[in-house]
Amino acid sequence: MNIAVCLKQVPDTSEVRINPKTNTLMREGIPSIINPYDVHALEEALTIRDRLGGRVTVLTMGPPQATDSLRKAISYGADHAILLTDRAFAGSDTLATSYILAGALGRLMDREPLDLIFCGKQAIDGDTAQVGPGIASRLGWPLLTYVTKIDGIDPTNQVFQVQRKIEVGREVVRCRLPALVTVVKEINEIRYAPLPDLIRAAHYPVEVWTNADLGLDASQLGLKGSPTWVNKISTPPMREKGEVLAGSDVAPAETARILADKLIPHIVVPNR
């Protein structure tokens, strides 16, 4: 089983702060992490490889600093890492990003066949959940999103079976291989490598591909290739200031009475 994992380096959004005066992101000192869902995607790929053999290749599109995330993935046990970086890629929306990643995966498949591609459910910096479906659509591969469990893989007959989350429960889907899968956190527990291979990771020759290597259509890359654009940034509107009913100096029973006067019309269906 050869598996590719698309992972994205993202700012740790729990640390993101907005400058209230300028309405801009305060980026200074915000640590970068591997998108949390992608760590689960990698874990699942490593588990399958350990069981069935094969290679796990991690890919990321991003600035040169994204190499840090790839090295981390190598330390967890990935076999190979590829960085996609080019000025022409900057400013890509999800349509352009999926074009670039699908192009790179196609290029990788010229070298070795792939059976599975894993993505995270969504990236926490944009929460779009569009890149995985986009790659599958571009490759013409079957797509399984929100996967919670991989029940079985049969490489001989080129089929596998997964459980996926749906709004009102879950479903079991059997699907042809190769396929693209996006995973949720419930799919596995991250078991950190007992001895993360830090030395191998530090010296690992991460492969770097630019568009000279991929030969993609320049009009479909970056800002030019992105139909969506941010037109305006604003702060969320606040509701009208409400009414303070009672302070801490009023007895609870009295406060309850005042509140009940206000709420009864909202919560009782009038007797008709």
């Binding site: 779009t128 569009q130 699907c175 042809r176 009864i264």
Partner: protein
Amino acid sequence: MTAKKKKSPKAPPSAFTEKTVPPITDNPERSDTKAHEQIPLESIEAPKNLPAHGIWVYIEQLQGEVAPVSWELMGVGRQLADKLNCPLSGVLLGHDIQPLTELAFQYGADTLYAIDDPMLKPYTNECHSIALVQLCQAHHPEILLIGATTTGRDLSGSVATALRTGLTADCTQLDVDVDNRKLLQTRPAFGGNILATILCRDRWPQMATVRPRVFSKPEKQPERSGAVVWSDLGLDPSKTVMEVVERILDERTEGYLDEADIIVAGGRGLGSKDNFKLVEKLAQAIGGMIGASRPAVESGWAPYSHQVGQTGLTVRPKLYIAAGISGAIQHLVGMQNSDVIVAINKDPDAPIFRVATYGIVGDAATLLPAITQELGARMHGAPLGTERQL
């Protein structure tokens, strides 16, 4: 009580036929045969820039029940269509869907595009995305709105890519620039701290997904009707690449939180699981459901399915009571559209008071029982939550 768990007496016990397929076990023998026939979306020609017209709403249905978000979108779609002076249409895909068609008109559609095919019976990304792409290519909608449910997001990403158009996920406001016929798609970014308005240039349809309960459901107009445009799917069933083997629906003894009219929510300020029970008691007394902030869920006081906020549900009840919740932006984005908000917090500067209709500064542990008693004693009619949907 929700419509979803009701079983219609007409339909067979499970409208979904389970296939008896043996489970697949890992078979490590590698085979190099790569023969697989897929239906590559790539082979479908990207749309030309033909004059596009009309707003479309994807009507999501599962086993004959329509996801409420579809009607919420029909409501906002109606407003946009009136501004743009263009028709509003529904898109309905499935099998045996005839009984649902009239609902689309009653909720505001002028036209309905529909495909009825056994291959569309259980939702699969493969067949539903091809069906929707085919309809878009045949009729050129200008705007396509889809609910941001798991199914809607699965579908929209595939369809937008196949059509080579832009897609904005999880919008919380929609408007149109009438002169340029642009959809103004506003969504929270960076954890809800800012709102970004996103436009799509030179591609159609302009696509957006919207979370459930961001917009309210329009009134049903039983007298409205319209024309259904039926199309054929024309796919070869022997060439499908995926198959739904089984569907396991959640056992729900109560309704869905995002459809509740009254929610009583508790946060870390309650201090203990025992105190959280005070929230449950009040909810029970006034026919509401319980909600919780993330810390309350993480402490095990309430299940995750009751978490409100960015990483939980968006709710829009008639009444939202927040006890011991500070009102972090990640919580506010999930509940600030509630009609009436009551906040109980001992800190007068807590941000929750900025969205509260009625604010009470005080100790929730003593106020909740007093409020439960007072409201319980004074309610004469039926509490709102008890007779819904019946």
